[in-house]
């Protein structure tokens, strides 16, 4: 499954990092603590968070997550978006709250 497939299945919006939309998705991680993501997320995860600042992209890129999903209609800060485009790590968005998004992601990825 690619990031594109996840976008289509869950009706996500794309803020940036379009060049990474063909990245392979192998799992998911949900956290708003950057050190938690640093320590526990895996390469190929989609990462759901409510954090919208640039440091999210530094962590996303170092961990090689497939994409970042912002929940509850949140939008990335300008410098977060810039780095998403520089690193080709997609930043996606949804109106869903984290609980619902995580449930639907789990159903999709663990099928």
């Amino acid at each position: 499954m690619t990031v594109n497939d996840v976008i289509k299945s869950l009706g996500l919006s794309v803020f940036g990092g379009e060049k990474g939309l063909s990245r392979e998705v192998t799992g998911g991680y949900v956290s708003d603590l950057l050190s938690d993501v640093m320590g526990n997320a895996s390469e190929g995860d989609v990462w759901a968070t409510l954090q919208t600042h640039k440091n999210v992209m530094a962590v996303a890129s170092l961990k090689e997550v497939a994409a970042v999903i912002l929940v509850k209609g949140l939008k990335p800060d300008e410098d977060m978006l810039e780095q998403s485009n520089e690193e080709d790590v997609p930043v996606l968005g949804t109106e869903m709250e984290t609980f619902e998004l995580a449930g639907r992601l789990y159903g999709l990825i663990k099928k």
């Binding site: 708003d32 950057l34 938690d36 640093m38 320590g39 530094a58 170092l62």
Partner: protein, 137 residues
């Protein structure tokens, strides 16, 4: 092979740049991906600690066939009680830093988990030196 990167205290917009540069070099040197992943976690935590707590710092990376030896040296307030700082959940980060999702007291424990050897020396009012060794053999 030796490399040096500078870290600016307080500048969160650059946090992670040094770790990212080291990661690129390790990839070019064909260091095994699993080793790079572990070291990058420890490095990033060390870099963020300098940004969040110190005035300025440097990362020195020394690579030989047997091991990667990283020194993160800062000029800063130092750590009065290293044992306490190593405890999961203990943090002295400001409220603003916590709201960004940092300062959960997971940084040093993350470093310990991902380094083969970790050595911390600190002098209050002067600074902290963290040494991370990752074995390649």
């Amino acid at each position: 092979m030796k490399f040096k990167y500078e870290i600016e205290g307080g500048n969160f917009s650059k946090a992670g740049n040094a770790s990212s540069a080291v990661k690129k070099i390790l990839k070019q040197l064909n260091v095994p991906p699993a080793t790079i992943k572990k070291l990058v976690v420890a490095l990033y935590e060390g870099e963020v600690n300098v940004v969040a707590h110190a005035w300025n710092g440097c990362i020195y990376v020394d690579i030989d066939p047997d091991r990667i030896f990283v020194t993160i040296e800062d000029e800063g307030p130092g750590i009065p009680d290293i044992g306490q700082a190593m405890q999961e959940g203990y943090s002295t980060a400001s409220q603003a830093v916590r709201e960004m999702g940092f300062g959960a007291g997971m940084g040093l424990p993350n470093m310990k988990k991902n380094a083969d050897l970790l050595n911390i020396k600190s002098e209050v009012g002067k600074g902290t030196t963290v040494e991370i060794t990752t074995l390649l053999k």
